[in-house]
């Protein structure tokens, strides 16, 4: 059972126990989100672990995670509730009595689920992909934590969920929404933190390899790449190196596994042609 989350340190430790390592800033912000019951808006480059944060917060607070993945065109029927039409039709055809619009035929979507179950963590993922109308609807939802279903009535939350919203900034979110949230920008971790993350997530890897990988990745991030690798890619790549190689980061093994780290042809070619030997040597030297 997770421990109490009554101080910033405890939040940091609880998240670390879920193998999500935070710095003091993020720990403070998560602590505040839990205490003030304010939605937390997280932005950052792809792959820095925005979604993982919500999962870790849910696990650390012993709550259930309800996830709503946003996409263009998402509306109330995908996000909040819908009716089970086939069942309604069958019910009618079978000469059933009673209301068609009762709980029996209600299909609960993530937002409604988060309202009805007390103490959940609600992840609204990639909100920037949804369109303006949905954002406006969400505004109402986030300020009152209640929704009105015309046929049934008002559904109110006993204990509002902890809400984590993420955005990749493909679209600027409205200020009105930002005003309701706490805001945090997650950066790529520095070398030390990344080493700690890989160590905790992939305990089977040798310390030596972990350090070499993280040194290499940190250098690669400065190469002005098209797609800068995130922590997720680092983990994949470390795993790949561990599987293929013999616990040492060599240019040869790195070249063959580079696809786990870099996801654009230009970047792979760039690193392969220009920097691979040099970077691999540098990574080995840094650890030796």
């Amino acid at each position: 059972m997770p421990g109490p989350l009554d101080s910033i340190e405890q939040v940091g430790e609880a998240l670390a126990a879920e193998r999500y390592l935070v710095d003091e800033g993020l720990a403070t912000v998560v602590f505040l989100a839990l205490r003030l019951r304010k939605p937390l808006l997280v932005e950052g480059e792809p792959g820095v672990g925005k979604t993982e944060l919500a999962k870790a917060v849910a696990a650390a607070s012993g709550s259930e995670l309800v996830r709503l993945q946003c996409y263009e065109g998402i509306d109330v029927h995908h996000a909040l509730y819908d009716w089970d039409y086939p069942r309604q039709l069958l019910h009618l055809r079978a000469g059933g009595t009673g209301s068609l619009y009762s709980e029996e035929f209600l299909v609960r979507r993530p937002l409604l689920e988060a309202l009805e179950r007390p103490g959940t963590v609600l992840l609204i993922d990639e909100l920037d992909r949804a369109d303006d109308e949905f954002e406006a609807f969400l505004l109402e939802f986030l300020s009152d934590f209640q929704v009105t279903i015309p046929e049934i009535g008002v559904v109110r939350s006993e204990q509002p969920p902890v809400v984590v919203l993420t955005s990749n900034r493909t679209r600027e979110l409205h200020d009105a929404l930002r005003r309701r949230c706490l805001y945090h920008w997650i950066d790529h971790p520095d070398r030390e933190r990344e080493i700690a993350i890989v160590r905790s997530r992939r305990p089977e890897l040798s310390e030596r390899l972990v350090q070499q990988v993280c040194t290499f990745v940190e250098e690669v991030r400065w190469l002005d790449l098209y797609r800068v690798p995130g922590v997720g890619e680092t983990l994949d790549w470390a795993q790949a190196l561990h599987t293929v190689g013999d616990g040492e980061l060599t240019a040869d093994v790195a070249e063959r596994t580079l696809g786990a780290l870099l996801k654009a042809r230009e970047d792979v070619e760039r690193v392969r042609r220009g920097h691979l030997e040099e970077l691999a040597a540098k990574a080995r030297d840094a650890v030796a």
Partner: protein, 426 residues
Amino acid sequence: MRSPEEAVARAVVALARGLRAAGVPAGIDEELTLCRALAEVDVRRREDVYWAGRASLLRRIDDLATFEAVFERWWGGQRLEAVGAPIAEQSESDPRMPGPQHGGESLPQFRHEGRSGHILDGKAMPALRPLELPSSADEQPGEEERRGVLAAYSPNEVLTEREPLGLGADEAATVRRLAEALKMAAPQRASRRLRPAGSVGRLDVRRTVRGSLATDGEAIRIARSSRTLRPRRLLFICDVSGSMERHSRVLLASLQGVVGADIKAETFVFATRLTRLTTTLGSADVAGALDRARSAVEDWSGGTRIGEVLAGFNAEWGRRGLARGAIAIVVSDGWDRGDPELLSRELERLQRQSRRLVWLNPRPADLGGQPLAVGMRAALPYIDDYIAGHDPHAVGQLVRLVHGLGAGRAVRRQRPSSTTSSQQRR
């Protein structure tokens, strides 16, 4: 003697006021949030207060530099008025933005082998180093020096006389006309949202069931719904260096009036560095933003480094999908003193991301049959539509083009019609 609560409240108000003075919007809601947040943390610890303040008052990462400057002074007990708007400039600088040191070594020689080369002089080009330009200090922006700078880079360049701007005295009327035309032509795309439709579209089960209530559960009338149309995004990347500035200004002023419900536009301006104007476009400060964008330029009369600017766009914005499905419109005369191969590469990337890539050149050097600027020639293979001409006419053409690019399948036109193939092979 003040109570601790009041002291905190006063301090919070002072901080928010300082931020507002520095151009970061921080309203009463944020102040209240921060007051509540400060009650939860240790207000004697700088870290705690910093993060509580940052989470409550900061709304976008672009304002971080300003926030930090204001916070620093506030925490140190200094007066806050002195922190002014210029800090905002800092937020744009990113160590990962491609600088001159990257331009040369990033050239993958396996790509487009000889493609740019044959555009230039018939043979594949060696790996280009960023050109060493004479420093701006000993240069006057006169014709002679300009020729010197550009001629060093593009030997075939024939500089024309300073061209007329092609604008009448009443710019305002032009702006109004263009705004009106753009509004009418706003391209659209199919949204994923559905709305009730007559006899076409897909089955709308929800409404069908509703309707069947009246007929005892027999679904006699089939309800249908079809996709709605939404404005398609226009992406403007406008050159504001040198005499391009007036052309861009007219265009942006036109945009300013119509961006909103009818037109979805993202606007960037560049001289040597890219500045995003979209959030500014809603306000009246377009002129100020243009001036700021220009003031960052030391040597604007020598041309720009369009390749680097586009690389910056692709890395910062394109990567996150800003150009996806958009009609990208580059407004520039193509006087590029950067690396033409970099320009080709980044432009190709932009083209791949966008639905259609249009290049609007208000100051074409080739109207009289003279060769194009080097940058322009490097760019041509990747442009879907090349519109050359002076303002009212060219923008009119743009409007007509954009109008036809609404829903349906993306169409590419690889070769611009306004140039001959002989020019590209030079």
